[in-house]
């Protein structure tokens, strides 16, 4: 499944001639461990099911990974992939929930998703609905102050039905996160903010599933899963290269990339 998701991401962005491959490829296992396992409760035939789990993509530019996952899960026809970023498409450059079955919230302006997830987790608790809220942020995104406002709210409210996942790929648009505005160390930061913190290899699906299960078993605190990833994972020339944060592959690059993906992760 991860090979299919990577292939879909690259073909989508190639067809759109713009988009963000780096941060989509780094989050493939994070997403597939959630949606293609027994972790995340959903029903493609009833996307408004009350006790479904909720997923908030806060790093909205990673839209292609969300689209690939939702499409492969069956929320919409995969034929839409080739319409990414095009006029009239359900697949907007950044997710627009109104037009996208299976998407809980629009995103695009960074730093907002965790507050929304706090509101959702609180609402579920108020309504006695047994469901979890997952929120994916980038590590560069942690530079947004609102993330820390929301972190304090989640801990204050003891939202143990809330799972923050940090796609810790170390790179943002302008370069290395540590060189621009250092957000590390992440484990200690979130622990000091009263989170239950789990560190994990963000490209190891089994480890990720185990981490999600640890989150579900955890009581009294929100959880942060720090998933160490590689930006552009799976395509050697995109890996750890900030230039591929927001660049579409040309025909030749796509061919090379798909060949590498077929060979599997190194």
């Amino acid at each position: 499944m991860e090979k299919i998701i990577r292939k879909d991401i690259l073909e989508m962005i190639h067809s759109a001639k713009s988009g963000h491959p780096g941060g989509a490829l780094s989050a493939v296992e994070i997403m597939s461990a959630l949606y293609f396992s027994d972790v995340f409760r959903y029903d493609v035939n009833d996307s408004a099911m009350e006790n479904r789990d909720r997923f908030i993509l806060s790093k909205g530019h990673a839209a292609p990974v969300l689209y690939a996952v939702l499409g492969n899960a069956g929320f919409f026809d995969k034929k839409h992939f080739k319409t990414l970023r095009k006029f009239g498409s359900i697949l907007q450059g950044h997710p627009h929930a109104k037009h996208l079955n299976g998407c809980d919230m629009s995103a695009g302006s960074l730093g907002q998703g965790l507050s929304i997830a706090v509101g959702k987790a609180l609402a579920l608790r108020m309504k006695n609905i047994d469901a979890n809220v997952y929120c994916l942020v980038g590590d560069g995104e942690l530079q947004e102050g609102q993330i820390w406002e929301a972190t304090m709210s989640a801990a204050q409210l003891k939202l143990d039905n809330l799972c923050l996942i940090v796609d810790y790929n170390g790179i943002q648009l302008d370069g290395n996160v540590a060189d621009i505005k250092d957000v590390y160390p992440l484990k200690e930061k979130f622990e000091s903010f009263n989170f239950n913190v789990i560190e994990v290899d963000g490209h190891n699906k089994e480890e990720l599933i185990k981490a999600y299960k640890m989150f579900k078993a955890n009581v009294g605190k929100p959880t942060a899963i720090i998933a160490k990833t590689v930006k552009g994972k799976g395509v050697s020339f995109m890996e750890n290269n900030a230039n591929w944060h927001g660049l579409a592959p040309n025909d030749e690059e796509l061919k090379l990339a798909l060949k590498e993906i077929e060979g599997g992760l190194k």
Partner: protein, 313 residues
């Protein structure tokens, strides 16, 4: 004799009534619960109240999350911080997803007084009026703030309501019919129409009395809903009097001045004068002193009416 009462009291009373009815609401504040009157909810219905601390962006995001799950949040804080600091959150999360979030901007206008320019929301209506899906309301007194809050609760979609800190004349009744988007005609005269919202409505009524003694007959329309605008009533009175004054405790740019002017420019251009703050920041001072210094009194409306009439062809 007319009593004075702060509009925020009407807001607080409406919240208590909604709580008594055990409506599916959550009242949120960002550390100014005493000022916004949400503290009344905290004291009497603590399970309907959440203080998120000094974090307006988070306030709006949490409210958006709650609304997306069917709870009606009343996100309350000073209008200047709510609309300014939270603008991107209101735009991209609340309005883009058309979420049922009630945004409550207290201490709006220059009359907040001694706190000075940092706390005087004079741009909030301009900011909120440009957002798709947004409903924008500025009630004229405490009773209308009550009715508007109840109406907002029943309305589905993003709403922003703003009112000032001060006790201002209480001249409407809680029982008066209040419909979002339906302006109220308070006086009918033929020489000019004053379209006003918020604290300027009562000033307009007093200006009408002064002008009447001078033989000038004006209409006064309380346009409590800035967006969606009651086009029909605005057009009707523009045609009736062929000139207008628009009055708001806000910058002259945007808000009621903006939406009425734009609408009339397209449909029935008439001379218009504005009563509002003239593209400047406020400063510290007593509320009445500031209203006078920045041109927001009945006398300023009187002068504006005369100027508008003089431009009639």
């Amino acid at each position: 004799m007319i009593n004075n009462k702060p509009p925020r009291d009407g807001y607080g009373e409406a919240l208590l009534d909604l709580c008594r009815n055990d409506e599916n609401i959550l009242v949120l504040d960002a550390d100014v619960a005493k000022s916004t009157r949400t503290i009344w909810v905290k004291e009497q219905f603590p399970n309907k109240f959440l203080d998120v601390g000094i974090s307006e962006q988070d306030l709006i995001g949490i409210s958006a999350g709650l609304a997306s799950e069917g709870i009606v949040p009343f996100a309350s804080t000073y209008g200047v911080f709510l609309s300014g600091r939270g603008f991107d959150q209101i735009r991209t999360t609340v309005c883009y997803d058309d979420l049922n979030v009630k945004l409550v901007g207290a201490h709006a206008g220059i009359s907040v007084g001694p706190d000075g320019a940092t706390h005087q929301a004079l741009e909030d209506m301009a900011l909120m009026s440009v957002l798709p899906n947004m409903t924008l309301i500025a009630p004229c007194d405490s009773n209308e703030a009550y009715s508007a809050t109840m109406a907002m609760f029943k309305h589905k979609g993003p709403c922003y309501i703003r009112f000032g800190r001060e006790a201002i004349p209480l001249f409407t009744n809680k029982e008066d019919d209040f419909q979002i988007g339906k302006a109220k005609v308070l006086k009918e005269g033929n020489d000019c129409t004053v379209f006003a919202c918020g604290s300027m409505v009562h000033e307009a009524l007093m200006a009408q009395e002064i002008l009447e003694k001078e033989g000038i007959s004006i209409s006064v329309v309380n346009v409590h809903t800035i967006k969606p605008l009651d086009n029909e009533t605005v057009l009707k009175f523009a045609k009736k009097t062929n000139c207008a004054v628009i009055a708001q405790e806000h910058q002259k740019i945007g808000g009621l001045c903006g939406v009425v002017s734009q609408y009339l420019a397209q449909t029935y251009p008439v001379p218009i004068e504005y009563v509002g703050v003239a593209d400047t920041f406020g400063e510290s001072g007593e509320p009445a002193e500031l209203m006078k210094a920045y041109g927001l009194t009945k006398n300023d409306i009187v002068l504006a009416v005369k100027a508008s009439i003089s431009k009639k062809k």
